[in-house]
Every structure is written in C-alpha cells, then in structure tokens.
C-alpha cells in the first residue's frame, strides 16, 4: 500500500476512521433515544405539534405563529360554533410552518374550516433556520418538502440522527410529564397586560420572499381544490402598520380562490386598546383573545362553510 510510505497519513486516517465511526455510532444511539423520547411526549410544545400533525380531527383548526397560539381560544369557538376546534399555532413560526401543518393534516382528513393567522410582515421575512421545529417530522411526506426552506443541505444534515432533535433535550424531558398542562386544545393564554402605551411603527423593509409566497399560493390552492374554507387573518397588533406587501399577497390569494376570505385587523383602533386587550405589542392577552375569538367565531357562524365569499 502506498500509505505505508507516509506513516503520518496512515496514522491520521486510522485515528480519523475510529473517531468518525464512534461519532456515527453515538449519533445513531443518542438520536434514536431522542426520537423515542419525542414519540413519548405527553404534554408541552412538542406534543402539541405532534398532535396537530398526527392526531387532531377537529372541525376547525387555527394555524400560525405565537400570535395564532395566543389569539384563538378553542373554548369560545366551540361555544359559538358548537363544534370542535384545535389551535395548532406555535411560537416563533411563520406561514411555512402553517403550510406544512396544513399539508400534513389534510393528508388525513378535511377540516370544516382552517384559520391561517399571518404575521404583519410575513412575506418579507425569511424563515431560514426557523423551521427546525419541523425536522423531527422529516419522515412525513407532506412535511418534507417544506424542510428545504430551513436552509441548504437539509437532506445531508438529516443523515445525522441527532440533528432533528437539536436543542430539544430539555423540552423532551419536560414533555414526558403529562401534568404539564399549560394549554387548552393547543391554546396558551397570556395573562399579562401591556404597560407600554407608545405604539411602534411596523414596516416591511425587506423585499418579498417569492419562494414563501409561491408555497403559500400552492397550499391555499390545494385547500381550494378540496373545498376547505380558509380564513386568512392578520390579527390585531398594537402598532401602527405601514406594511403593504403582506396584506396585498393575502388579498390576491383571497381574490383567486372562492373559498378563501381575508380579514385584516391591522390599524383597527378598536383592537388597539393596550390596557385592555394586549399582552405586548404583538400578542393579545386572555381578555383580548376571548373577545377576538368571539368576533371571528361569529364571522364564521354567519358565513358557514361553502358560503364564505
């Protein structure tokens, strides 16, 4: 062998091989262990997402970021609509997360209606690196196409068994406890009151994210084909908005699909009562969520599935 002429290279390759094999072995064992723990979640953030993707059969579902999670109270929807409701919103997520969840859910059943809560600057913000919450579901055929938005080389990175569960160690431990019930059907209430009475101004300085817009159009198109009514909502925000890209995209989607309706609550004074409704600039508190959920539920009740214009 030529390597015998180069003892340093031979020695290095030997060490490297041993270390790499050990890393691969540890990665496999620890990764599988974390996968097992993930499947045994009984409460918490991870459980809620898994439940949304794999188990929920609610008639109505709400999708979106933390704003969706804290704004749509299932108790109110269930009382007004007399039907089941599940809140699939998750902190620090955006519309691509919503699309992935919706795609996975409609693979199982057709809900009576879907609410998609959109961030005020949704279509001008990148979700690169923020879709890691979907990595544990990489085996789900409906979710997999959206993983590409998390960054380059996702397929290669997913060769590691630990990678999908990166930074989830403490969540996995906490989620094993079934008494950790901070939510009601996915909804987590906020009990704080915004003490800042100065309104900030929101703008969209970045260019539109065409990939994100395309994915959203595609998902809404699929829902339209299945005749699932969709309510796209930009929920209240305690700020002055000068955004135009995101509302325009939502409006265009609503115009193109007859089962889709768009409600924009930005700059609506009634909802900008800081001392009453808002927990902070971007989130409604419990009182605000109840009133807001009631308003949305009534809109849905007055325009039942199939009649939404």
């Amino acid at each position: 062998m030529i390597l015998y002429k180069y003892p340093d290279i031979r020695r290095f390759l030997q060490s490297l091989t041993i270390i790499l094999l050990t890393i691969i072995f540890c990665d496999f064992v620890i990764g599988r262990g974390m996968e097992y723990l993930y499947s045994k979640q009984k409460s918490g953030l991870l459980y809620r997402t898994t439940y949304s993707i794999d188990s929920t059969t609610a008639d109505y579902i709400a999708l979106g970021s933390s704003r969706a999670n804290h704004h749509y109270d299932p108790k109110v929807f269930e009382a007004v609509l007399g039907t089941s409701f599940y809140n699939c919103g998750r902190d620090a997520q955006g519309v691509l997360f919503s699309c992935a969840l919706a795609a996975a859910i409609i693979n199982r059943y057709n809900p009576k209606g879907i609410i998609i809560d959109i961030l005020p600057d949704e279509f001008t913000r990148s979700e690169e690196g923020k879709l890691s919450s979907l990595l544990p579901y990489y085996k789900n055929e409906a979710v997999r196409p959206y993983l590409g938005f998390n960054g380059k080389f996702q397929n290669v990175k997913l060769l590691s068994h630990i990678y999908p569960y990166n930074s989830l160690f403490t969540n996995l431990i906490v989620g094993l406890n079934n008494k950790h019930d901070e939510d009601y059907k996915g909804y987590v209430e906020l009990n704080t009151v915004n003490t800042n009475d100065r309104m900030i101004t929101l703008s969209e300085p970045n260019p539109p994210d065409s990939g994100k817009i395309k994915a959203f159009y595609k998902l809404v198109g699929e829902l339209e084909q299945r005749h699932i009514p969709v309510l796209i909502i930009i929920s209240p925000v305690y700020a002055t908005n000068i955004n135009s890209v995101t509302p325009e995209v939502c409006l265009n989607v609503a115009k193109k699909n007859k089962n889709v309706r768009f409600l924009n609550f930005m700059n609506v004074k009634y909802w900008q009562r800081q001392d009453l409704f808002s927990a902070d600039e971007f989130h409604l508190n419990k009182a605000g969520a109840i009133v807001f959920s009631e308003a949305i539920a009534k809109i849905i009740a007055e325009n039942p599935p199939g009649k939404i214009e």
Partner: protein, 478 residues
C-alpha cells in the same frame, strides 16, 4: 463563507486535501483560488475592492524598496492614504457625513451630501490593516519587498484569516507561503482540535448567549436593570466566544496545512488588570496599534502627560476601527482611561501587592478581587460596544444603576444551556490558566482513549446543543 456553515464543512476538507495532493509550486495558486471562492460567498463583486487594496500596496511596497529618503516616505504616505481612502469610503463616509450634517443643522447651514447606500465589504478593516502592516514593515526595512504578485495577494487574502484575522505581520506569514509543508500528523490533529473547540465556542456558547442578549438589548426599554446587567455579562462572554471561536477556527484551518498563525486570545477574562486584559484580548490588533500607532506617537518614552495622551488616543482610534459610531469611540476611550488611571496609583498598588504577597489568603483574595474588578470594568465598556447608539447606552446604564427587578428569563431552555456551557468554558479555562491537576487536559491527555472520547463528546455536544442558524460572527461587520 461562514466557518459555521455547512458550505465550509465541505470547502475545508476539499481545500486541505487538494493542498497536500498538489505539487508545492502550484499550491499558492490553489490557496489563492480557494480564498477567492471563500470571499465570493459574501458579495462577489466586492473582491474588486480587495484587488484595489492589494494592487495599491503591492506596487507601493516595490516603490518604497526602490526609493530612499523623502521619496520613500512619500510612497509610504501615498500607500497609507490610498488604502485608508477605500476604508473611509465604505466604512466612515456616512458617519462623517451625518455628523457634518448634524453640525450644519445646528448652525442652520445649508449642507446636504447624500448618504451612500452601500454595504460594508466583509472584513475590510482586517485586510486593510494586514496590507498596511506590510508597507510599513517594508518601509522600516524589517521586511523585504514581495515581488511575487500571487504570493503577496495570498498574504492579504489567505482564507483562514481573510475576514476577521488574526491580523498577521508579513515577517510571520509571508515566508511560510514559500515553505513546503508536508502532511504532518501533529499539525493536522492540533489544527482539527482547534477547529472543533472554536466551533463549540461559537455555536454552543456564543450563539446561545446571543439569544438572551439580543432579546434584552433589542428591547432594552422593556427590561429592568437586573436583566440588562445579566445580558451585559452574557455579552462579554458572547463576544469572547464568538471572536476567539473564529480565531481558533482560523488558526486551526491554517495549522492543518502547516501554517502557523499568531495567537489571538489568551483567556482574557482571567486578566488581573486592564493592561493585562489587552495583552490577552485580540492580541493581533492590540500589537498592531502598539507597533504602528502608540510607539510612533512616542509610546511611554515621553512625558507622563504625553504618554497618557498617547494611550488615550490609541484606544480611541482602536475603538473607531471597530465601527463608525461614537459608541465604539467611547468604548475605546474608556479602555484608554482604564489604563491611565492605575498609573496614578502605581506606587501604592505596588506596595500593597508586596504586603499582600506575604499572606497566602490575602494574596489569593487580592488576585481574585483584581480579576473580578477587571472583568467588571471591561463589562461596563461592553455596554457601549453592544448599544446601537449613545442614547441606548445611557438608558442601559441608568436602568442597571437605578431600576432593578425580577430577572427576565425568556426561554428556560436557552437560559439553562447558556449557564451550563458557560460554566464548562470557565472550568476548562480555569484548569488551563492555573495548570491544575498536573496540567490536566481532556484534549491533550496522555491517554489516547480519553483524548478520543473528548473529541467525540464535543462533536456530539455541538450536534445536540449547537445553534445552527448560521449566524454571522460579530467581528465580520468590522
């Protein structure tokens, strides 16, 4: 290209393997091409700016070598001014413009030059200083002129240290490009260990701490002084792990190919005085300012008052080098003041030191106090460095001093990971600093099994707890 990106994970082994496979005479071409590719991952067209700097100082070096007397000095001045002009246009024009605008407004004068909407080329200040170091050394006669344009370009562009240093001196690195580096087991292993440790510091510690620091500093008006104080301490470690992590990766990458770059950090938070801190922090920049600004100004071989001025002005310029913002100037100036004040108490502190040395407990307490005091001073200065403007910095200080309250935790998970891995870092550095347990080290242990277990563990920790959002290194913006 970012060191903490997947692109680099592919780039590095390919470049290193090709380097050893190629005959020595072609290696410089290979490294130069790789460096261009590395740089072009940011904004490709900006490589032309780099080319301008290289051309200016390459020819300036030749003309300086050929000339004598005033002409020699003239070439040096031309070279420095032209190189700095590039830096001025891209980094400082808008700063000066807006300040002049402010003054003109104040005096109701008519002045309106448009703000340049250009992005600062990544690492511009670093390669500008490396380039300047070459012409100054040629002028001083410490370095022979480099006539090989390719090798000179490689000196400025060598990819491991292209965008954030260490800022090398030509005497240390230029000759290494001519040397034939055979594959050396110790170099490769030492380099790889440095790289893995650097990645750990960056993605496990710095980027994790950044989550809390950003959450607090970006919403400083919503947080109390206690949270801001914690965020400031976290920032001190974030910037250390971010920058020293980068330096470790840079030094490690070069080392695998047999190149020895200078040490840039030496456990700075164990320093017992600010003066010692600056001998341990960003050593390549500190020594650059010492050799090319402080000493030419007269250093300490002048009157006391002049020496204080030299120190102060050197640190103000150093601050300004970091960024075109008054916050950086004040950060630098504050560090200068930290160095000046102890000189008034030199005799007293020397006497106190001698007295304390006679008692082991007192001596230990004094050393511990000095270390903590130095850290506190440095952390205070970091407030200016982290704040986007002076108004914010003042608001942060106001809250830290007067407005205390419950600590903002944010995400429990982030807080736990931040504290745990910060402690890991401190314990490791503590052992290294004080050479405890017979100089115990996991990475350099005599037991092969323990060494290998430590490598594997570190990689697994990076995979499990690293923050993989490919965030930039803080110093790239300079």
């Amino acid at each position: 290209m970012l060191f903490n990106s997947f692109d680099f994970l592919l780039f590095f082994p390919i470049v290193t393997i090709l380097y050893f496979l190629l005959p020595h005479k072609y290696r410089w071409i290979h490294l130069l091409t790789a460096s261009c590719v590395f740089y072009c991952f940011f904004i490709p067209v900006y490589i032309l700016i780099l080319l301008i700097t290289i051309l200016i100082d390459y020819f300036a070096g030749i003309y300086i070598e050929r000339s004598e007397g005033k002409r020699r000095k003239a070439w040096l001045v031309i070279s420095i001014l032209s190189t700095c002009l590039v830096l001025f246009v891209f980094k400082y024009f808008n700063f000066f413009n807006s300040n002049i605008n402010f003054i003109a407004d104040f005096f109701h004068l008519n002045y309106s030059l448009p703000i340049l909407s250009i992005i600062l080329p990544i690492g511009l200040s670093f390669h500008t200083f490396q380039s300047l170091s070459y012409v100054i050394e040629v002028y001083r006669g410490n370095q022979k002129v480099e006539t090989h344009f390719g090798i000179y370009s490689l000196y400025v562009m060598f990819y491991p240290q292209l965008v954030a240093g260490p800022i090398e001196r030509p005497q240390n690195i230029l000759h290494q490009f001519y040397e034939k580096h055979e594959f050396n087991y110790n170099d490769v292993v030492t380099g790889l260990k440095k790289i893995v440790w650097g990645i750990f510091k960056k993605v496990v510690i710095a980027d994790r701490l950044a989550i809390y620091v950003n959450a607090v500093y970006l919403n400083h008006d919503k947080h109390n002084g206690t949270s801001l104080a914690i965020a400031t301490v976290f920032f001190a470690f974030q910037i250390y792990c971010d920058f020293s992590g980068y330096s470790d990766i840079a030094i490690g990458c070069a080392r695998t190919m047999g190149f020895k770059l200078m040490t840039n950090f030496n456990r700075p938070y164990f320093a017992r005085s600010v003066s010692e801190f600056w001998k341990r922090w960003h050593i390549s920049l500190s020594t650059w300012f010492r050799d090319y600004v402080y000493i030419p100004l007269g250093g300490n071989r002048v009157s006391k008052l002049r020496n204080y001025f030299n120190l102060f002005i050197t640190f103000c310029i150093s601050g300004f080098w970091h960024g075109a913002n008054w916050t950086y100037v004040i950060w630098g100036g504050l560090n200068g003041i930290y160095l000046i004040i102890p000189q008034f108490f030199y005799k007293f502190s020397k006497h106190a030191g001698n007295v304390f040395k006679q008692n082991k407990i007192l001596d230990f307490s004094m050393k511990l106090f000095n270390t903590l005091w130095t850290f506190l001073l440095i952390a205070i200065a970091w407030v200016f460095f982290r704040s986007p403007d002076l108004k914010t910095a003042i608001a942060v200080f106001d809250k830290i001093i007067y407005k205390h309250g419950p600590v903002f935790i944010g995400n429990n998970k982030n807080m736990i990971f931040s504290v745990v891995f910060l402690l890991v870092l401190l314990v490791v550095e503590f052992f290294e600093e004080f050479k405890l347990l017979n100089n115990f080290s996991f990475f350099n242990n005599s037991s092969m099994v323990l060494r290998r277990v430590s490598y594997v563990s570190l990689v697994i920790i990076i995979l499990m707890f690293g923050v993989f959002d490919s965030s930039q290194f803080i110093y790239f913006q300079f």
